[in-house]
């Protein structure tokens, strides 16, 4: 059970003077349960890529398989696919429309044609999962704070009980606290449900702490696809394409260069603290 992309190409405005390749020869396999960071500069094709995964966009050429079935074949049930592959867009709070928070979250499961009881149960569970307290349930979604709105919007997708959850820049425009809250919640959710999570971001810092695989996109192609520490080893190449490894990587590299015996593969603050203390203590 997985998503497989086979030589996927996507060209915007094909056959016109403004033709623009957004995806070039993408080959990926996304097995169940993985936590993936999809990183790339603005315009590198990452948003285009995730819109292919639930069939919103059709590749110009190449195939996408979901659990072995070609999703762009005639007769494939795209509606069902979209309930299995949940996509949370950038600034998802802009899509809220119902009169209260609870009804808005019900919109997704209701579209799946579920019974009223099941719809409400799912909405309730999803709102709890993203940490929205009961007292907000019957407020207008437009009265909430930015971070709360975003969590409600994420709940709207979660309520469809997807097997794969894709979040396109879920932290854009949030303050550091809101960012950490959302990311922690997603990590927790993934632990509880075991679903596949794809986190789209342009910041390595955001994803380094959580993911077990990083796919780096550059100019419509996949540049790196590996575990975080392997990807961060290429920090000089990452810089060339306008990205950067987490600050920790730089600190550890410089400490090493200055003669301190530390592990340069460290990616998180906590690990770094341990390693530095250890290195200093031994001295």
């Amino acid at each position: 059970m997985s998503i497989i992309l086979n030589h996927v190409n996507h060209i915007y405005e094909e056959d016109t003077a403004m033709a623009f390749p957004a995806l070039t020869d993408i080959n990926l396999e996304i097995p169940d349960g993985q936590f993936i960071g999809l990183i790339g500069h603005t315009g590198s094709g990452k948003s285009t890529l995730v819109q292919h995964l639930n069939g919103l966009l059709k590749p110009t050429s190449g195939e996408i398989y979901y659990n072995g079935a070609d999703i762009n074949e005639e007769g494939f049930n795209k509606k069902e696919l979209r309930s299995k592959v949940g996509l949370v867009f950038q600034y998802p709070e802009h899509q809220l429309f119902e009169i209260d928070v609870f009804s808005d979250v019900c919109f997704g499961p209701k579209n799946l044609g579920l019974e009223k009881k099941e719809v409400e149960l799912r909405a309730y569970t999803a709102l709890k999962q993203v940490g929205i307290a009961d007292e907000y349930f019957y407020q207008s979604p437009f009265d909430l704070s930015g971070g709360q709105k975003r969590r409600v919007a994420i709940a709207g997708v979660l309520a469809m009980k997807p097997e794969v959850l894709i979040l396109d820049e879920p932290t854009a425009g949030l303050d550091p606290k809101g960012r950490d809250e959302i990311l922690d919640q997603i990590a927790k959710l993934r632990e509880e449900t075991g679903m596949t999570v794809i986190l789209v971001s342009h910041s390595m810092e955001d994803v380094a702490k959580y993911v077990d695989r990083i796919i780096v996109m550059n100019k419509s192609r996949v540049l790196f696809d590996d575990v975080p520490k392997e990807v961060f080893r290429h920090y000089k190449e990452l810089e060339k394409v306008g990205l950067a490894a987490p600050q920790i990587t730089y600190i550890m590299q410089e400490l090493k260069a200055k003669g301190l015996n530390v592990d340069t593969d460290i990616t998180t603050l906590e690990e770094a603290k341990e390693a530095i203390l250890k290195a200093l203590g031994k001295k």
Binding site: L56, R82, F97, N111, L112
Partner: protein, 267 residues
């Protein structure tokens, strides 16, 4: 989906017609339209065709772009031709059962068709060679005298250009919201009319909210820059008539007088 809709069909290239002052193009188009209704014989239309062809050639816009605008009026054209063809009384040329085609009918129908086609093509030349912003600028300058009658000319022009500017933004926004709701299982295509109308709610509510938010932001930004409406405002690129603009006026008026003379006086 929505990417395919093009509004403001400006064709970017560098030509004499593109460089003309938008006021000249507006007045010129108006004169051309007047000429089409003054003329009522084939020699007159030959002159109009020649004038139009020269202008199209000068504009360097591929001919197929002119024809594209025609698609919208094909239906209207067919109806106009049919009605004129069959319902004009006069000297019968051809008749089957109760349907009669008269000489006058043929004349009227063909005049009507030529007029409509030239009309669309003529105005296409203007919109293809002038950006929407230039057009509103030109319109503002042309309508300036109406200020005497307390018509808020500048405000009208400002509203027009803001509206035009926001069309592509809102289209993009619509596309985005539509996709987001489709990802949540929304269905905008199937079902009967009532169901379809209902399915638009999840699209329209966010769209309106976003439009209001953008309008509010824009108003604040204008306020912060001390925007204060029409009087005493200067322009970064003021419209000033060049030599070629004066010549273009001369050519347009000459063309109209020629049409009047040939269409009315001589024949």
């Amino acid at each position: 989906m929505l990417r395919d809709i093009t509004l403001g069909q400006y064709y970017q290239t560098d030509s004499v017609i593109h460089r003309l002052d938008p006021r000249v193009k507006l007045v010129g188009t108006l004169l051309f339209i007047v000429s089409l209704f003054v003329v009522d014989n084939f020699i007159g239309y030959a002159i109009a065709a020649a004038f139009l062809l020269v202008v199209i050639k000068l504009s360097k816009v591929p001919f197929k772009f002119m024809v594209r605008g025609m698609k919208a009026i094909v239906f209207l054209l067919i109806i106009a031709v049919i009605f004129n063809l069959f319902l004009t009384p006069g000297e019968v040329v051809f008749s089957v059962w109760k349907i009669q085609i008269t000489k006058e009918g043929i004349y009227l129908a063909s005049f009507m068709a030529i007029r409509l086609i030239f009309l669309i093509m003529g105005s296409s030349v203007m919109t293809l060679t002038t950006t929407p912003n230039q057009l509103t600028d030109g319109l503002e300058k042309l309508l300036n005298p109406l200020k005497i009658f307390k018509v808020p000319v500048h405000e009208i022009a400002m509203m027009m250009s803001i509206a035009l500017r926001f069309i592509p933004i809102l289209l993009e926004e619509t596309d985005k919201i539509m996709k987001a709701q489709i990802a949540r299982g929304a269905d905008f295509e199937s079902g009967n009319l009532i169901k379809k109308a209902k399915s638009l709610v999840p699209l329209l509510v966010p769209l309106f909210i976003s439009a209001f938010r953008r309008a509010n932001d824009l108003a604040t930004a204008m306020e912060a820059r001390c925007y204060r409406g029409g009087d005493f405002r200067t322009k970064m690129k003021p419209l000033i008539y060049q030599k070629r603009d004066r010549w273009a006026y001369v050519v347009c008026w000459f063309y109209l007088s020629l049409c009047i003379i040939i269409g009315r006086v001589l024949l």
